[in-house]
């Protein structure tokens, strides 16, 4: 099963490696990993998306907790969460395809962020599935290069009242 795990970790020498090592040490493949500062500067948040057996992920989480530099580990898979990813997709620019690319980008609320006489770069953000879909529609234009940020995620706040469905979508 796919898991999204967030780890709050001291921003110290070697701390990120230790976290990543634990996954590889258990034979887990990391789909994506993203690291950035939190509201407290010396603490970073790592968001790790991985695939693996539920029992083993529980073990990994316990062992992540055991690491000296980790402060909090949450398996977000079990929670309502907001997940976002950003992708930069560079496709081949040929006469006549600009309009089409622009239209498709609009559907995904993506932006064209760079253009020259050979290529166009599109920026798309959203839940990972939306980014996947955007990548798929860009494919036919010939993707020359792509960079994805990896997923970042936060637990959703408590929601006292039922919320309209659309609001939950992105």
């Amino acid at each position: 099963m796919r898991h999204t795990v967030t780890v709050l970790v001291e921003n110290r020498f070697g701390a990120f490696d230790r976290v990543a090592n634990l996954f590889s040490g258990k034979g887990f493949n990391i789909h994506s990993i993203s690291i950035g500062e939190t509201e407290i500067r010396e603490i970073s948040r790592m968001t790790i998306v991985t695939e693996g057996d539920d029992h083993i992920i529980d073990q990994v989480i316990k062992q992540l907790n055991r690491l000296v530099d980790t402060l909090k580990v949450v398996n977000l898979t079990e929670h309502h969460r907001v997940e976002r990813e950003l992708a930069l997709i560079t496709v081949t620019y040929q006469k006549g395809n600009l309009e089409e690319i622009k239209n498709l980008a609009d559907i995904f609320r993506a932006k064209i962020v760079d253009i020259n006489n050979k290529s166009i770069t599109v920026e798309v953000t959203g839940p990972p599935e939306k980014v996947n879909a955007a990548v798929n529609v860009m494919m036919p234009f010939g993707i020359k290069e792509m960079a994805r940020s990896g997923t970042v995620a936060l637990k959703r706040g408590e929601q006292p009242k039922p919320v309209k469905k659309e609001l939950l979508l992105n």
Binding site: E10, G14, D17, Q63, N65, V68, D69
Partner: protein, 573 residues
Amino acid sequence: MKPTEKTMSGAEIFFEALKREKVEYIFGYPGGANIKIYEQLYDIDHLTHILTRHEQGATHAADAYARATGKTGVALVTSGPGATNTVTGIATAYMDSSPLVVFTGQVQSHLIGNDAFQEADIIGITRPITKHNFLVRDIRELASTIRKAFYLANTGRPGPVVVDLPKDIIAAETTFEYPDTVDIRGYKPNYHGHHNQIKKAAEAVRNAKRPLFYVGGGVIMSNGSEELRVLADEHGIPVTMTLQGLGAYPGDKPLSLGMLGMHGTYWANRATGQCDLLVALGARFDDRVTGKLDTFAKNAYKIHVDIDPSAIDKNIVVDLPIVGDVKHILAGIAAELSGEELDFTEWRAQIDEWRAECPLSYEKADGKLRIPHIIERISEITKGNAVVTTDVGQHQMWTAQYYDFVNPRSLISSGGLGTMGFGLPAALGAAFGVKDRPIVNINGDGGWQMNIQELVTVKHHNLPIKMIVLNNSFLGMVRQWQELFHKEKYSFTDLESSNPDFVAIAEAFGIPSFSTGDVGEVDELLDKAFNKIDGPVFIEFKVEKEDMVFPMVPAGASVSEMIMERLNPKRMV
């Protein structure tokens, strides 16, 4: 910095910090990257440095010193090859949760990552085999890092910590400030088990008909042997121990079932299979203990007491986890049950029946010299009171079976990693830590050759280690597996034609040395070693070559598939 404050060099700070940590011994080896520390060491008299002849030896010695005393072991080595030579020692300590701090020299900070001479990324290399590790990058952090290293090594679930010291840091200067307390946000071991859980555990004991304590090294580490003894004795609850747990409860008492698992006793394994309450105490359900997981203690309500939350439910899902220090929790359970009359007579009688049915035994009638006999004699001559270090293999398992350990911190053996070459350096480390009990190293002819250089260190310090090599001319344990499971292809395990003259070797190191293959000479030689000669003694016993250790539960099999004797595998129920 106030101008009046005196500054100290990194090397001075290093030794001042060790002084604050009350370090008595460091085991080490000098080189280019740590030469400044050795320069400082020349004038230090508050601790003793032991020069081993290999960094692996230093690390095992420090590890064993820790296991024998409960204090933190310390090793000091240089960068590059010095550091990489400690890797097996660190992994050994990690697997058996031994408190160890290893200081490695490192190239100058600005050269790190440049493939400088004698550079190795020891932080990266040791990351998966340490509890934590540090690269000191600023002289102002040196003292507090050492403080943290010792704190981490010997609190919670103990383990090895590496501190990597670049050469320029050791030479730099700053004022000395040693923190009184350590506060690490992400590290707060929980010592006191949850009160309700303790109550539930007591209730489970109360309701059990066939309770069993399954004791691991954690009981010894937490110094909880006395609490265990009180609880087991008051209510007559049988105790079985893992290799690391032997000695936690006196092996010569009727409530002790000896070791369980792959080479455990028949009755301990039967009891494990039949108990209705299994209380795991500082043990980790290792595969050498459980065999096939889904048949292990199948019908028992399982309680798991451990200081490490990540040990809980790792291999076996338990009914009642209690996270905390085993010593505290044992005392808590004992207090709950104190004065109550619990009656497990029937259960004990059942176990005694099993004990009588298949006692540990070996061939005696043919008059040949066999390892179990030698171990039994050592056990009797030392009254079970020696500190025994072993290597890995058949002799190790026979030691576990036939030596009656009556005290904790008595068997020092590489259980988790199974490191050959551990025994001799471990004995030397133990000998510095323990001065009032006999020190014995029991070794195989294979493992003996894996850190044999430490004979120099033993001789140089005239350590009273009785070194026993049980020479079966084979890598015996591998040979046993080859015979049982690998079509009798004795591939590269026969050492007969290549083994050296062991007596000549030990004599060359200046150590009184003896050899015999005669069962009639065993007592005389042991008497000489233990009672007549003060310093180190070496004895080679030439034993039966093809004996095997039984009982044996084949790897991954369920305990009921125990093989009782050669060619005649009597199956358990």
